[in-house]
Amino acid sequence: MSIRRAYAVNQWKPNFDDFCRPDAHLRAFKTVRAAGFRAVELRGGTGRWDPLGRPASIEATYGSLSTFAKVLADVGLDGVSSWSVDPGEPVDEELSHGRSVLDRGQHAAIVEWARPFAAALAELGGSRLVVRALPPAWQVGTVDDDAVDTAAACFDALGAATAEHGVRTTLHADVLSAAADADVLARLLAATDPALVGLTVDTGELTLAGLDAADVVRRHVDRVDHLQLKDTRFVDTAGERLRPHAEHAFLTAGGDREVERWFHEVGTRDGLVDAPAVLDVLRGNGYDGWVVFESEQTPNPASTVMLNGWYAKHRLGL
Protein backbone atom coordinates (compact mmCIF):
# COMPACT_ATOMS: atom_id res chain seq x y z
CA MET A 1 0.00 0.00 0.00
CA SER A 2 1.24 3.47 -0.75
CA ILE A 3 -0.16 6.96 -0.90
CA ARG A 4 -2.58 7.23 -3.79
CA ARG A 5 -4.28 10.30 -5.11
CA ALA A 6 -8.01 10.58 -5.60
CA TYR A 7 -10.29 13.41 -6.66
CA ALA A 8 -13.48 14.71 -5.07
CA VAL A 9 -16.26 15.22 -7.59
CA ASN A 10 -18.23 17.64 -5.43
CA GLN A 11 -17.45 20.72 -7.52
CA TRP A 12 -19.19 19.36 -10.59
CA LYS A 13 -22.52 19.60 -8.78
CA PRO A 14 -23.25 23.10 -7.53
CA ASN A 15 -26.99 22.68 -7.87
CA PHE A 16 -29.56 19.91 -7.87
CA ASP A 17 -29.95 19.86 -11.62
CA ASP A 18 -26.25 19.81 -12.50
CA PHE A 19 -24.13 16.72 -13.05
CA CYS A 20 -27.02 14.26 -13.25
CA ARG A 21 -26.39 12.48 -16.52
CA PRO A 22 -23.97 9.56 -16.73
CA ASP A 23 -22.28 11.12 -19.78
CA ALA A 24 -21.38 14.12 -17.62
CA HIS A 25 -20.02 11.74 -14.97
CA LEU A 26 -17.99 10.00 -17.63
CA ARG A 27 -16.38 13.22 -18.82
CA ALA A 28 -15.45 14.10 -15.26
CA PHE A 29 -14.04 10.65 -14.55
CA LYS A 30 -11.95 10.73 -17.73
CA THR A 31 -10.66 14.17 -16.84
CA VAL A 32 -9.69 12.97 -13.38
CA ARG A 33 -7.94 9.91 -14.77
CA ALA A 34 -6.09 11.82 -17.47
CA ALA A 35 -4.61 14.08 -14.80
CA GLY A 36 -3.19 11.09 -12.96
CA PHE A 37 -5.73 10.44 -10.22
CA ARG A 38 -6.61 6.87 -9.35
CA ALA A 39 -10.04 7.13 -7.72
CA VAL A 40 -12.90 9.49 -6.95
CA GLU A 41 -14.41 10.63 -3.71
CA LEU A 42 -18.19 10.90 -3.76
CA ARG A 43 -20.32 13.27 -1.75
CA GLY A 44 -23.41 12.17 0.12
CA GLY A 45 -26.72 13.46 -1.18
CA THR A 46 -30.37 12.72 -1.54
CA GLY A 47 -33.08 12.53 -4.14
CA ARG A 48 -33.36 11.62 -7.79
CA TRP A 49 -31.30 14.59 -8.88
CA ASP A 50 -28.25 13.36 -7.03
CA PRO A 51 -27.47 10.08 -8.77
CA LEU A 52 -24.09 9.68 -7.08
CA GLY A 53 -25.32 10.81 -3.67
CA ARG A 54 -26.13 7.44 -2.13
CA PRO A 55 -25.78 3.78 -3.03
CA ALA A 56 -29.44 3.34 -3.96
CA SER A 57 -29.23 6.31 -6.30
CA ILE A 58 -26.21 4.83 -8.05
CA GLU A 59 -28.10 1.57 -8.46
CA ALA A 60 -31.09 3.44 -9.89
CA THR A 61 -28.86 5.26 -12.36
CA TYR A 62 -26.37 2.59 -13.35
CA GLY A 63 -28.33 -0.57 -12.63
CA SER A 64 -26.05 -1.80 -9.89
CA LEU A 65 -22.99 -0.86 -7.94
CA SER A 66 -20.97 -3.39 -9.87
CA THR A 67 -21.99 -1.76 -13.15
CA PHE A 68 -20.89 1.59 -11.76
CA ALA A 69 -17.61 0.02 -10.67
CA LYS A 70 -17.11 -1.23 -14.20
CA VAL A 71 -17.67 2.27 -15.57
CA LEU A 72 -14.90 3.49 -13.31
CA ALA A 73 -12.66 0.58 -14.23
CA ASP A 74 -13.22 1.14 -17.93
CA VAL A 75 -12.10 4.73 -17.46
CA GLY A 76 -8.96 3.42 -15.77
CA LEU A 77 -9.87 4.34 -12.22
CA ASP A 78 -9.44 1.96 -9.30
CA GLY A 79 -12.83 2.86 -7.86
CA VAL A 80 -14.24 5.08 -5.14
CA SER A 81 -11.73 6.05 -2.48
CA SER A 82 -14.17 7.52 -0.01
CA TRP A 83 -17.59 8.98 0.56
CA SER A 84 -18.02 12.32 2.26
CA VAL A 85 -21.26 12.55 4.24
CA ASP A 86 -22.97 14.85 6.71
CA PRO A 87 -25.38 13.31 9.23
CA GLY A 88 -27.04 16.71 9.57
CA GLU A 89 -28.24 16.83 5.97
CA PRO A 90 -31.82 15.87 5.06
CA VAL A 91 -32.43 12.41 3.62
CA ASP A 92 -35.59 12.36 1.53
CA GLU A 93 -35.49 8.61 1.17
CA GLU A 94 -35.67 8.22 4.95
CA LEU A 95 -38.10 11.11 5.51
CA SER A 96 -35.40 12.67 7.64
CA HIS A 97 -34.81 16.40 7.94
CA GLY A 98 -31.30 15.65 9.12
CA ARG A 99 -29.95 14.27 12.35
CA SER A 100 -27.57 15.50 14.99
CA VAL A 101 -24.68 13.65 16.53
CA LEU A 102 -25.28 15.84 19.57
CA ASP A 103 -28.60 14.11 20.22
CA ARG A 104 -28.13 10.64 21.69
CA GLY A 105 -31.65 9.75 20.65
CA GLN A 106 -30.60 9.95 17.00
CA HIS A 107 -27.40 7.96 17.18
CA ALA A 108 -28.97 4.65 16.24
CA ALA A 109 -30.60 6.20 13.16
CA ILE A 110 -27.31 7.79 12.15
CA VAL A 111 -25.57 4.44 12.35
CA GLU A 112 -28.27 2.78 10.25
CA TRP A 113 -28.14 5.63 7.73
CA ALA A 114 -24.41 5.13 7.33
CA ARG A 115 -24.36 1.37 6.88
CA PRO A 116 -25.24 1.36 3.15
CA PHE A 117 -22.47 3.85 2.45
CA ALA A 118 -19.92 1.61 4.15
CA ALA A 119 -21.18 -1.47 2.37
CA ALA A 120 -21.08 0.29 -0.98
CA LEU A 121 -17.60 1.64 -0.32
CA ALA A 122 -16.40 -1.86 0.36
CA GLU A 123 -17.80 -2.97 -2.98
CA LEU A 124 -16.37 0.01 -4.85
CA GLY A 125 -12.86 -0.30 -3.45
CA GLY A 126 -13.13 2.48 -0.88
CA SER A 127 -11.92 2.58 2.67
CA ARG A 128 -13.04 5.85 4.26
CA LEU A 129 -16.42 7.19 5.29
CA VAL A 130 -15.66 10.87 5.76
CA VAL A 131 -18.15 12.21 8.30
CA ARG A 132 -18.75 15.83 9.19
CA ALA A 133 -17.37 16.07 12.71
CA LEU A 134 -19.84 18.53 14.21
CA PRO A 135 -22.65 20.76 12.95
CA PRO A 136 -21.96 24.43 12.15
CA ALA A 137 -20.44 26.46 14.96
CA TRP A 138 -23.12 29.11 14.77
CA GLN A 139 -25.76 26.47 15.50
CA VAL A 140 -23.86 24.58 18.18
CA GLY A 141 -22.44 27.40 20.26
CA THR A 142 -20.07 26.40 23.02
CA VAL A 143 -18.97 22.79 22.75
CA ASP A 144 -18.81 21.60 26.35
CA ASP A 145 -17.53 18.26 27.56
CA ASP A 146 -20.98 16.73 27.52
CA ALA A 147 -21.40 17.67 23.85
CA VAL A 148 -18.02 16.18 23.06
CA ASP A 149 -18.85 12.95 24.88
CA THR A 150 -22.21 12.72 23.11
CA ALA A 151 -20.73 13.20 19.66
CA ALA A 152 -17.89 10.83 20.45
CA ALA A 153 -20.33 8.10 21.45
CA CYS A 154 -22.05 8.45 18.08
CA PHE A 155 -18.79 8.33 16.17
CA ASP A 156 -17.55 5.30 18.07
CA ALA A 157 -20.77 3.48 17.23
CA LEU A 158 -20.49 4.63 13.65
CA GLY A 159 -16.88 3.52 13.50
CA ALA A 160 -17.78 0.08 14.79
CA ALA A 161 -20.54 -0.27 12.21
CA THR A 162 -18.39 0.78 9.24
CA ALA A 163 -15.51 -1.37 10.45
CA GLU A 164 -17.74 -4.38 9.84
CA HIS A 165 -17.27 -3.57 6.16
CA GLY A 166 -13.57 -2.81 6.47
CA VAL A 167 -14.27 0.92 6.19
CA ARG A 168 -12.89 3.50 8.61
CA THR A 169 -15.02 6.32 9.94
CA THR A 170 -12.98 9.50 9.75
CA LEU A 171 -13.98 12.92 11.04
CA HIS A 172 -13.90 15.93 8.78
CA ALA A 173 -13.86 19.45 10.16
CA ASP A 174 -14.99 21.95 7.54
CA VAL A 175 -14.60 25.68 8.00
CA LEU A 176 -18.11 26.12 9.39
CA SER A 177 -18.04 23.14 11.71
CA ALA A 178 -17.77 23.60 15.45
CA ALA A 179 -14.94 21.08 15.22
CA ALA A 180 -12.80 23.51 13.21
CA ASP A 181 -11.27 24.66 16.47
CA ALA A 182 -7.99 23.34 17.86
CA ASP A 183 -9.34 22.71 21.34
CA VAL A 184 -12.64 21.17 20.29
CA LEU A 185 -10.94 18.97 17.75
CA ALA A 186 -8.39 17.75 20.27
CA ARG A 187 -11.08 16.95 22.85
CA LEU A 188 -13.23 15.20 20.26
CA LEU A 189 -10.38 13.00 19.13
CA ALA A 190 -9.39 12.25 22.70
CA ALA A 191 -12.95 11.17 23.46
CA THR A 192 -13.21 8.80 20.52
CA ASP A 193 -11.70 5.35 20.17
CA PRO A 194 -8.59 5.52 17.97
CA ALA A 195 -9.30 2.00 16.80
CA LEU A 196 -12.65 3.08 15.38
CA VAL A 197 -12.42 6.76 14.48
CA GLY A 198 -9.78 8.67 12.55
CA LEU A 199 -9.23 12.23 11.41
CA THR A 200 -9.52 13.70 7.95
CA VAL A 201 -7.40 16.79 7.53
CA ASP A 202 -8.88 19.17 5.00
CA THR A 203 -6.13 21.71 4.46
CA GLY A 204 -8.19 24.47 2.89
CA GLU A 205 -11.06 24.29 5.35
CA LEU A 206 -8.84 24.29 8.43
CA THR A 207 -6.70 27.13 7.13
CA LEU A 208 -9.68 29.29 6.32
CA ALA A 209 -10.96 28.62 9.84
CA GLY A 210 -7.71 29.97 11.25
CA LEU A 211 -5.86 26.74 11.99
CA ASP A 212 -2.47 25.74 10.65
CA ALA A 213 -3.14 22.53 8.76
CA ALA A 214 0.44 21.29 9.10
CA ASP A 215 0.27 21.85 12.86
CA VAL A 216 -2.98 19.93 13.06
CA VAL A 217 -1.36 17.06 11.24
CA ARG A 218 1.68 17.10 13.50
CA ARG A 219 -0.49 17.21 16.60
CA HIS A 220 -2.76 14.37 15.57
CA VAL A 221 -0.57 12.48 13.16
CA ASP A 222 -1.44 9.12 14.68
CA ARG A 223 -5.12 9.77 14.04
CA VAL A 224 -4.90 11.14 10.50
CA ASP A 225 -6.22 8.48 8.15
CA HIS A 226 -7.46 10.64 5.29
CA LEU A 227 -6.25 13.83 3.64
CA GLN A 228 -8.17 16.32 1.55
CA LEU A 229 -6.06 18.91 -0.22
CA LYS A 230 -7.16 22.29 -1.38
CA ASP A 231 -5.67 25.72 -0.85
CA THR A 232 -6.96 29.11 0.23
CA ARG A 233 -5.64 32.64 0.16
CA PHE A 234 -7.72 33.71 3.13
CA VAL A 235 -8.23 33.31 6.86
CA ASP A 236 -11.55 34.17 8.46
CA THR A 237 -10.01 36.78 10.72
CA ALA A 238 -13.36 38.45 11.38
CA GLY A 239 -15.01 35.32 12.69
CA GLU A 240 -17.65 35.39 9.98
CA ARG A 241 -17.86 31.62 9.99
CA LEU A 242 -19.38 31.86 13.46
CA ARG A 243 -22.20 34.18 12.44
CA PRO A 244 -25.75 32.94 11.78
CA HIS A 245 -26.33 31.45 8.36
CA ALA A 246 -22.63 31.48 7.57
CA GLU A 247 -23.30 28.79 4.93
CA HIS A 248 -24.72 31.44 2.69
CA ALA A 249 -23.50 34.84 3.90
CA PHE A 250 -19.91 33.72 4.39
CA LEU A 251 -19.14 30.61 2.39
CA THR A 252 -21.35 31.11 -0.65
CA ALA A 253 -21.81 34.87 -0.90
CA GLY A 254 -18.23 35.71 0.04
CA GLY A 255 -18.70 37.41 3.38
CA ASP A 256 -17.98 41.04 4.23
CA ARG A 257 -15.04 41.09 1.82
CA GLU A 258 -17.18 39.72 -0.97
CA VAL A 259 -14.50 37.14 -1.70
CA GLU A 260 -15.33 35.51 -5.01
CA ARG A 261 -13.60 32.23 -4.29
CA TRP A 262 -12.46 30.98 -0.90
CA PHE A 263 -10.77 27.82 -2.16
CA HIS A 264 -8.13 27.31 -4.83
CA GLU A 265 -5.91 24.71 -6.39
CA VAL A 266 -3.16 23.38 -4.15
CA GLY A 267 -0.07 25.54 -4.54
CA THR A 268 -2.04 28.50 -5.84
CA ARG A 269 -0.34 31.87 -5.88
CA ASP A 270 -0.45 33.44 -2.41
CA GLY A 271 -1.87 30.18 -1.06
CA LEU A 272 -1.59 29.75 2.69
CA VAL A 273 -1.53 25.95 2.78
CA ASP A 274 1.89 24.35 3.08
CA ALA A 275 0.97 21.12 1.36
CA PRO A 276 4.57 19.82 1.11
CA ALA A 277 4.92 20.19 4.88
CA VAL A 278 1.66 18.31 5.44
CA LEU A 279 2.83 15.47 3.20
CA ASP A 280 6.25 15.40 4.84
CA VAL A 281 4.72 14.88 8.26
CA LEU A 282 2.40 12.18 7.03
CA ARG A 283 5.09 10.37 5.09
CA GLY A 284 7.34 10.54 8.11
CA ASN A 285 4.67 8.75 10.04
CA GLY A 286 4.18 6.06 7.43
CA TYR A 287 0.89 7.35 6.08
CA ASP A 288 -0.45 5.03 3.40
CA GLY A 289 -3.96 6.31 2.79
CA TRP A 290 -5.60 8.44 0.13
CA VAL A 291 -4.80 12.02 -0.74
CA VAL A 292 -7.98 13.53 -2.11
CA PHE A 293 -7.77 16.76 -4.10
CA GLU A 294 -10.77 19.04 -4.35
CA SER A 295 -11.89 21.86 -6.61
CA GLU A 296 -14.47 23.63 -4.53
CA GLN A 297 -15.49 27.02 -5.92
CA THR A 298 -13.42 26.74 -9.07
CA PRO A 299 -14.95 28.35 -12.14
CA ASN A 300 -13.76 25.41 -14.24
CA PRO A 301 -13.54 21.96 -12.62
CA ALA A 302 -11.55 20.40 -15.46
CA SER A 303 -8.98 23.15 -15.36
CA THR A 304 -8.56 22.79 -11.61
CA VAL A 305 -8.22 19.02 -11.87
CA MET A 306 -5.32 19.49 -14.25
CA LEU A 307 -3.66 22.18 -12.13
CA ASN A 308 -3.95 19.96 -9.08
CA GLY A 309 -2.61 17.05 -11.07
CA TRP A 310 0.44 19.06 -12.10
CA TYR A 311 1.12 20.11 -8.53
CA ALA A 312 0.64 16.59 -7.21
CA LYS A 313 3.19 15.21 -9.64
CA HIS A 314 5.75 18.01 -9.83
CA ARG A 315 5.66 19.46 -6.32
CA LEU A 316 4.33 16.73 -4.07
CA GLY A 317 5.80 13.69 -5.75
CA LEU A 318 2.48 11.88 -5.79
Binding site: R27, K30, T31, R33, A34, A35, G36, V75, G76, R269, P299, N300, A302, S303, V305, M306, L307, N308, G309, W310, Y311, K313, H314
Partner: protein, 311 residues
Amino acid sequence: MTYRWAYMDHWRVDTPRGPQTQYANRRLMDDFVKQISAVGFEGLDMFDFQVFGLSGMFGSIAKYQEYLQDHGIAKIVNLFRGIMYDPRVADAHVRETHDEIVESTRRMLGMWSDLQIENLIVMPASLWTTTAPVTDDKIKAAAECWTRVGEMSLTEFGVRTTGHHEFFCAIRTFDDIVRFYDLTDPRYVSFFCDTAQHCIAGVDPVELYERLHDRVSGFHFKDTVQQDTTSAYQHRPDAELMAPQTDRWFHEMGVEGGLVDFQRLVRAMDAHGYDGWVTVEHDKANIGGDYAESTALSMWYAQQVLGKVAS
Protein backbone atom coordinates in the same frame (compact mmCIF):
# COMPACT_ATOMS: atom_id res chain seq x y z
CA MET B 1 4.15 2.79 -29.49
CA THR B 2 7.24 4.88 -28.85
CA TYR B 3 5.94 8.27 -29.90
CA ARG B 4 5.59 11.24 -27.60
CA TRP B 5 2.64 13.59 -27.28
CA ALA B 6 2.72 17.27 -28.16
CA TYR B 7 -0.04 19.86 -27.87
CA MET B 8 -0.97 22.20 -30.72
CA ASP B 9 -1.89 25.45 -29.08
CA HIS B 10 -5.23 27.08 -29.75
CA TRP B 11 -5.98 27.48 -26.02
CA ARG B 12 -8.13 30.22 -24.61
CA VAL B 13 -9.97 30.56 -21.34
CA ASP B 14 -12.73 32.63 -19.82
CA THR B 15 -11.34 35.11 -17.31
CA PRO B 16 -12.74 38.01 -15.28
CA ARG B 17 -11.43 40.16 -18.13
CA GLY B 18 -13.28 38.09 -20.67
CA PRO B 19 -11.93 35.41 -23.00
CA GLN B 20 -8.15 35.46 -23.15
CA THR B 21 -5.21 33.39 -24.31
CA GLN B 22 -2.24 32.49 -22.15
CA TYR B 23 -0.14 35.01 -24.01
CA ALA B 24 -1.98 37.72 -22.07
CA ASN B 25 -0.01 37.28 -18.86
CA ARG B 26 2.25 34.97 -16.89
CA ARG B 27 -0.50 33.68 -14.63
CA LEU B 28 -2.51 32.41 -17.54
CA MET B 29 0.67 31.00 -19.07
CA ASP B 30 1.50 29.18 -15.82
CA ASP B 31 -1.97 27.68 -15.70
CA PHE B 32 -1.83 26.61 -19.34
CA VAL B 33 1.55 24.93 -19.15
CA LYS B 34 0.74 23.12 -15.92
CA GLN B 35 -2.53 21.84 -17.33
CA ILE B 36 -1.10 20.35 -20.49
CA SER B 37 1.83 18.91 -18.57
CA ALA B 38 -0.49 17.37 -16.00
CA VAL B 39 -2.22 15.16 -18.54
CA GLY B 40 0.95 13.89 -20.15
CA PHE B 41 2.00 16.23 -22.91
CA GLU B 42 5.76 16.49 -23.31
CA GLY B 43 5.92 18.83 -26.28
CA LEU B 44 4.26 22.00 -27.48
CA ASP B 45 3.39 23.13 -31.00
CA MET B 46 2.48 26.70 -31.76
CA PHE B 47 2.09 29.34 -34.41
CA ASP B 48 5.22 31.07 -35.61
CA PHE B 49 3.97 34.56 -34.80
CA GLN B 50 3.88 33.84 -31.07
CA VAL B 51 7.61 34.53 -30.97
CA PHE B 52 6.89 38.20 -30.55
CA GLY B 53 4.60 37.89 -27.51
CA LEU B 54 6.73 35.22 -25.87
CA SER B 55 9.92 37.21 -26.32
CA GLY B 56 8.20 40.13 -24.65
CA MET B 57 6.96 37.99 -21.78
CA PHE B 58 10.12 35.96 -21.15
CA GLY B 59 12.93 37.99 -22.70
CA SER B 60 13.58 35.52 -25.51
CA ILE B 61 12.05 32.45 -27.04
CA ALA B 62 14.92 30.37 -25.64
CA LYS B 63 14.05 31.50 -22.12
CA TYR B 64 10.47 30.53 -22.75
CA GLN B 65 11.58 27.02 -23.66
CA GLU B 66 13.65 26.87 -20.45
CA TYR B 67 10.52 27.86 -18.57
CA LEU B 68 8.58 25.09 -20.30
CA GLN B 69 11.22 22.57 -19.29
CA ASP B 70 11.01 23.70 -15.68
CA HIS B 71 7.32 22.85 -15.80
CA GLY B 72 7.52 19.44 -17.43
CA ILE B 73 7.37 20.27 -21.15
CA ALA B 74 10.53 19.17 -22.93
CA LYS B 75 10.47 21.49 -25.91
CA ILE B 76 8.64 23.32 -28.65
CA VAL B 77 8.38 20.67 -31.33
CA ASN B 78 6.62 22.15 -34.36
CA LEU B 79 5.82 25.58 -35.69
CA PHE B 80 2.76 26.26 -37.75
CA ARG B 81 3.44 29.04 -40.23
CA GLY B 82 0.58 31.52 -40.37
CA ILE B 83 1.48 32.64 -43.86
CA MET B 84 -0.90 35.11 -45.48
CA TYR B 85 -1.33 33.99 -49.04
CA ASP B 86 -1.77 36.65 -51.67
CA PRO B 87 -0.97 36.07 -55.35
CA ARG B 88 0.55 39.55 -55.55
CA VAL B 89 3.07 38.81 -52.81
CA ALA B 90 3.22 35.21 -51.67
CA ASP B 91 1.29 32.34 -53.14
CA ALA B 92 2.79 28.93 -53.74
CA HIS B 93 1.17 28.38 -57.12
CA VAL B 94 2.52 31.74 -58.37
CA ARG B 95 6.16 31.18 -59.24
CA GLU B 96 6.96 34.90 -59.23
CA THR B 97 6.31 34.99 -55.48
CA HIS B 98 8.54 32.08 -54.48
CA ASP B 99 11.53 34.24 -53.64
CA GLU B 100 9.46 36.16 -51.14
CA ILE B 101 8.13 32.97 -49.57
CA VAL B 102 11.64 31.58 -49.19
CA GLU B 103 13.03 34.80 -47.76
CA SER B 104 10.19 35.44 -45.35
CA THR B 105 10.45 31.87 -44.14
CA ARG B 106 14.19 32.30 -43.64
CA ARG B 107 13.59 35.44 -41.57
CA MET B 108 10.94 33.70 -39.52
CA LEU B 109 13.04 30.62 -38.80
CA GLY B 110 15.90 32.87 -37.82
CA MET B 111 13.81 34.13 -34.92
CA TRP B 112 13.46 30.55 -33.64
CA SER B 113 16.99 29.39 -34.36
CA ASP B 114 17.95 29.02 -30.68
CA LEU B 115 15.56 26.10 -30.35
CA GLN B 116 15.45 22.60 -31.78
CA ILE B 117 12.26 22.93 -33.81
CA GLU B 118 11.57 19.76 -35.77
CA ASN B 119 8.96 20.79 -38.32
CA LEU B 120 7.78 23.90 -40.01
CA ILE B 121 4.15 23.16 -40.85
CA VAL B 122 2.64 24.93 -43.83
CA MET B 123 -0.54 24.80 -45.81
CA PRO B 124 1.11 24.03 -49.17
CA ALA B 125 -1.33 26.04 -51.23
CA SER B 126 -3.73 28.86 -50.68
CA LEU B 127 -7.49 28.49 -50.27
CA TRP B 128 -9.30 26.44 -52.85
CA THR B 129 -11.51 29.44 -53.55
CA THR B 130 -8.62 31.69 -54.52
CA THR B 131 -6.72 29.01 -56.44
CA ALA B 132 -9.39 27.25 -58.46
CA PRO B 133 -9.26 25.85 -60.98
CA VAL B 134 -6.61 23.61 -59.42
CA THR B 135 -4.42 22.49 -62.29
CA ASP B 136 -1.46 20.15 -62.51
CA ASP B 137 0.81 23.10 -63.18
CA LYS B 138 -0.38 24.94 -60.08
CA ILE B 139 0.34 21.86 -58.00
CA LYS B 140 3.73 21.58 -59.68
CA ALA B 141 4.47 25.23 -58.93
CA ALA B 142 3.56 24.70 -55.28
CA ALA B 143 5.80 21.65 -55.17
CA GLU B 144 8.69 23.70 -56.54
CA CYS B 145 8.06 26.39 -53.96
CA TRP B 146 8.09 24.10 -50.94
CA THR B 147 11.03 22.09 -52.21
CA ARG B 148 13.02 25.33 -52.25
CA VAL B 149 11.74 26.30 -48.83
CA GLY B 150 12.39 22.81 -47.51
CA GLU B 151 15.96 22.73 -48.74
CA MET B 152 16.60 26.08 -47.10
CA SER B 153 14.90 25.17 -43.80
CA LEU B 154 16.70 21.84 -43.50
CA THR B 155 20.16 22.90 -44.56
CA GLU B 156 20.20 26.25 -42.77
CA PHE B 157 18.12 25.51 -39.68
CA GLY B 158 17.79 21.74 -39.39
CA VAL B 159 14.01 22.10 -39.64
CA ARG B 160 11.87 19.94 -41.89
CA THR B 161 9.20 21.63 -43.98
CA THR B 162 5.98 19.65 -43.92
CA GLY B 163 2.65 20.03 -45.66
CA HIS B 164 -0.65 20.21 -43.77
CA HIS B 165 -3.72 20.02 -45.97
CA GLU B 166 -6.76 21.77 -44.56
CA PHE B 167 -10.07 20.69 -46.03
CA PHE B 168 -10.36 24.05 -47.73
CA CYS B 169 -6.81 24.07 -49.10
CA ALA B 170 -6.44 24.03 -52.87
CA ILE B 171 -4.56 20.73 -52.60
CA ARG B 172 -7.20 18.77 -50.76
CA THR B 173 -8.19 15.60 -52.60
CA PHE B 174 -6.43 12.26 -52.21
CA ASP B 175 -5.09 12.34 -55.75
CA ASP B 176 -3.95 15.95 -55.61
CA ILE B 177 -2.20 15.44 -52.29
CA VAL B 178 -0.38 12.38 -53.56
CA ARG B 179 0.51 14.24 -56.79
CA PHE B 180 1.95 17.13 -54.75
CA TYR B 181 4.28 14.81 -52.83
CA ASP B 182 5.27 13.01 -55.99
CA LEU B 183 6.40 16.37 -57.36
CA THR B 184 8.32 17.49 -54.27
CA ASP B 185 11.80 16.38 -53.26
CA PRO B 186 11.36 13.84 -50.45
CA ARG B 187 14.58 15.07 -48.88
CA TYR B 188 13.02 18.46 -48.25
CA VAL B 189 9.25 18.19 -48.04
CA SER B 190 7.38 15.85 -45.75
CA PHE B 191 3.73 15.27 -44.97
CA PHE B 192 1.91 16.26 -41.80
CA CYS B 193 -1.30 14.26 -41.40
CA ASP B 194 -4.23 16.15 -39.84
CA THR B 195 -6.80 13.46 -39.23
CA ALA B 196 -9.92 15.61 -39.04
CA GLN B 197 -9.07 17.88 -41.95
CA HIS B 198 -8.75 14.91 -44.28
CA CYS B 199 -11.95 13.31 -42.97
CA ILE B 200 -13.90 16.50 -43.56
CA ALA B 201 -12.55 16.60 -47.11
CA GLY B 202 -13.74 13.02 -47.64
CA VAL B 203 -10.25 11.56 -47.54
CA ASP B 204 -9.53 8.60 -45.31
CA PRO B 205 -6.51 9.70 -43.25
CA VAL B 206 -5.45 6.11 -42.67
CA GLU B 207 -5.45 5.37 -46.39
CA LEU B 208 -3.51 8.57 -46.97
CA TYR B 209 -1.04 7.66 -44.25
CA GLU B 210 -0.55 4.22 -45.75
CA ARG B 211 0.20 5.83 -49.10
CA LEU B 212 2.55 8.50 -47.73
CA HIS B 213 3.88 6.92 -44.54
CA ASP B 214 7.49 7.26 -45.65
CA ARG B 215 6.95 11.04 -46.00
CA VAL B 216 5.17 11.62 -42.68
CA SER B 217 6.85 13.84 -40.12
CA GLY B 218 3.95 14.34 -37.75
CA PHE B 219 0.24 14.26 -37.02
CA HIS B 220 -2.54 16.40 -35.75
CA PHE B 221 -4.81 14.01 -33.89
CA LYS B 222 -8.25 15.52 -33.75
CA ASP B 223 -11.70 14.29 -34.69
CA THR B 224 -14.72 15.48 -36.60
CA VAL B 225 -18.30 14.30 -36.60
CA GLN B 226 -19.16 15.34 -40.13
CA GLN B 227 -17.79 15.43 -43.62
CA ASP B 228 -18.17 18.47 -45.80
CA THR B 229 -21.41 17.61 -47.57
CA THR B 230 -22.23 21.14 -48.72
CA SER B 231 -19.03 22.06 -50.58
CA ALA B 232 -18.20 24.18 -47.59
CA TYR B 233 -14.59 24.24 -48.73
CA GLN B 234 -15.76 26.70 -51.37
CA HIS B 235 -17.36 29.02 -48.85
CA ARG B 236 -16.09 32.60 -48.92
CA PRO B 237 -14.42 34.20 -47.15
CA ASP B 238 -13.74 31.36 -44.73
CA ALA B 239 -14.68 27.70 -44.68
CA GLU B 240 -13.40 26.78 -41.25
CA LEU B 241 -15.28 29.25 -39.08
CA MET B 242 -18.08 30.56 -41.26
CA ALA B 243 -19.37 27.66 -43.31
CA PRO B 244 -23.16 27.35 -43.09
CA GLN B 245 -22.94 23.60 -42.54
CA THR B 246 -21.63 23.82 -38.99
CA ASP B 247 -20.10 26.19 -36.51
CA ARG B 248 -17.76 23.51 -35.20
CA TRP B 249 -15.88 21.12 -37.42
CA PHE B 250 -13.38 19.83 -34.90
CA HIS B 251 -13.65 17.75 -31.74
CA GLU B 252 -11.34 15.97 -29.37
CA MET B 253 -10.40 12.32 -29.85
CA GLY B 254 -13.02 9.99 -28.49
CA VAL B 255 -16.01 12.22 -29.22
CA GLU B 256 -19.23 10.30 -29.80
CA GLY B 257 -19.83 9.87 -33.50
CA GLY B 258 -16.27 10.74 -34.40
CA LEU B 259 -15.33 9.80 -37.96
CA VAL B 260 -11.60 9.31 -37.53
CA ASP B 261 -10.58 5.73 -36.89
CA PHE B 262 -7.68 6.49 -34.54
CA GLN B 263 -7.24 2.89 -33.47
CA ARG B 264 -6.77 1.79 -37.07
CA LEU B 265 -4.40 4.66 -37.66
CA VAL B 266 -2.28 3.79 -34.63
CA ARG B 267 -2.08 0.20 -35.77
CA ALA B 268 -0.89 1.43 -39.15
CA MET B 269 1.67 3.72 -37.50
CA ASP B 270 2.93 0.80 -35.47
CA ALA B 271 3.17 -1.35 -38.56
CA HIS B 272 5.37 1.28 -40.21
CA GLY B 273 7.42 1.86 -37.07
CA TYR B 274 6.48 5.49 -36.54
CA ASP B 275 8.41 6.75 -33.52
CA GLY B 276 8.18 10.55 -33.69
CA TRP B 277 5.97 13.07 -31.99
CA VAL B 278 2.18 12.96 -32.23
CA THR B 279 0.40 16.24 -31.74
CA VAL B 280 -3.06 16.56 -30.27
CA GLU B 281 -5.14 19.41 -31.59
CA HIS B 282 -8.72 20.44 -30.96
CA ASP B 283 -9.15 23.91 -32.29
CA LYS B 284 -12.49 25.61 -31.68
CA ALA B 285 -13.04 23.50 -28.55
CA ASN B 286 -14.61 26.52 -26.88
CA ILE B 287 -17.60 26.28 -29.24
CA GLY B 288 -19.95 24.37 -26.95
CA GLY B 289 -17.17 23.28 -24.64
CA ASP B 290 -13.89 24.41 -23.22
CA TYR B 291 -10.25 23.76 -23.84
CA ALA B 292 -9.44 22.35 -20.42
CA GLU B 293 -11.96 19.53 -20.59
CA SER B 294 -11.28 18.81 -24.26
CA THR B 295 -7.58 18.57 -23.55
CA ALA B 296 -8.08 16.16 -20.67
CA LEU B 297 -10.53 14.04 -22.66
CA SER B 298 -8.11 13.87 -25.57
CA MET B 299 -5.31 12.62 -23.42
CA TRP B 300 -7.57 10.21 -21.60
CA TYR B 301 -8.33 8.70 -25.00
CA ALA B 302 -4.66 8.69 -25.97
CA GLN B 303 -3.60 6.95 -22.78
CA GLN B 304 -6.48 4.62 -22.06
CA VAL B 305 -7.66 3.68 -25.55
CA LEU B 306 -4.80 4.22 -27.99
CA GLY B 307 -2.21 3.23 -25.42
CA LYS B 308 -3.79 -0.21 -25.29
CA VAL B 309 -4.09 -0.51 -29.06
CA ALA B 310 -0.53 0.34 -29.86
CA SER B 311 2.21 -2.18 -29.37
